[in-house]
Symmetry: C2
Subunit: 234 residues, 2 copies
Amino acid sequence: MATRPMYEVIRGDLLDQITAGALPPEARLPSEKELAERYRVSRMTVRQALDALVRERLVVRRRGAGSFVAPQRARSRRLNRLVPFGDEVSEDVVTTEIRRLVQVPPAAVARVLELGETAETVRLVRLRTVGGTPAAVQESWVPVAAAPGLARTELIEGSLYRTLAERCGIAVSWAEQEITACAATKELAGLLGVPQRAPLVEAHRTAHEGSGRPVEHASSWTRPEFPFVVRLDA
Amino acid sequence: MATRPMYEVIRGDLLDQITAGALPPEARLPSEKELAERYRVSRMTVRQALDALVRERLVVRRRGAGSFVAPQRARSRRLNRLVPFGDEVSEDVVTTEIRRLVQVPPAAVARVLELGETAETVRLVRLRTVGGTPAAVQESWVPVAAAPGLARTELIEGSLYRTLAERCGIAVSWAEQEITACAATKELAGLLGVPQRAPLVEAHRTAHEGSGRPVEHASSWTRPEFPFVVRLDA
DNA sequence: GAGTGGTCTAGACCACATG
DNA sequence: ATGTGGTCTAGACCACTCA
């Protein structure tokens, strides 16, 4: 019996009640004391559960008053998260077309991946389509040394990160992304179905595993109808 | 004596040692037990201090091994934070030119600010200049009702948020931002010194106070040499 | 095996919000 | 005045890492 910690259990129960609507936005949660009694657990353990929900912005605490489900607008979707492309963009059907080859990357890419100038990478170029219209081109480089086998595996549902996780044992944990704008080159214009020199959203991302080792560098070009959404905190 | 909580004191001490370099990246911190003894405090209190540093990504824990200062590359600047424009862009000299007037905003802006169709706002248009070259145009709307006095106050160092905080008692706590691309209109091209139809980074932001009430809606157009940088987590 | 962080207890006193 | 969350104690057992 792989027994989860009690604070995880409590957090899960409260999360279920919040997402199911049994605890609607602004509703008061049971007090810490009451939860402690209900779960036959000490108050510190209840606080661990609530701490997690507060960090996830689902709950706010008010000293002297109680803990409350966060107002809807404070929740703001799954922002600043690394999510598969499909989840990023609505509910429409997402398809992916792939080109893949093994090659030595440009020097700038080798540098951010902390590779020597001659190390090989798997280069993936994907065309993402949403509801039938082309939305984005993504070009990724993954060091061959980091993910042996990637060159010979099919991508799981077009998702590089799922493939790295389930086929190569590499868990991407965080990434830094630069977002800017550019004019469509002739090639991008053709792929994305926009006029040459049309404005595109250009992004450059470096993804890392938990240890901090870089495992992917990617560039993407997206039609402006598909903006990036970011949450900022003070 | 406004006595800070002990876990804040401990966190502060460790933070100082990390930023001063006394505890360099990858260095092992004293064990929780040792810190507890040193500060004459229980281990749970030490853990509160370490929890905070872990959330700030300055420290990583390894069960059975110890707690360590996070590797440099995992820290990644002050990302996903609401910072004054000057802090966003390097060390260059930033100047600001301001136009300000009171007017009823477009319907789309009124809606996100949760205002009636006839409510007035302070509209600020700022031209941001970095090292002498124009970098961005920012257009902000702030409800007059939320910030009475804003219409008659000078901005503190060109910063709307500092002014709201120090002159109007409004603490902006978080914002949601949409980033996309557009082609420079004739007017933007003139202000930013780029050709007409040149690609620009376009962003739309709604900022909220802690209570969740929206206090600003802003749009900005930035030359692509000044990208947005975002950190994403799994 | 010794030391580390992960989880948990059963209390306590305090500052604060609300009726 | 009552009840809430904020802070803190002085222990405990466990799972894990490392020498």
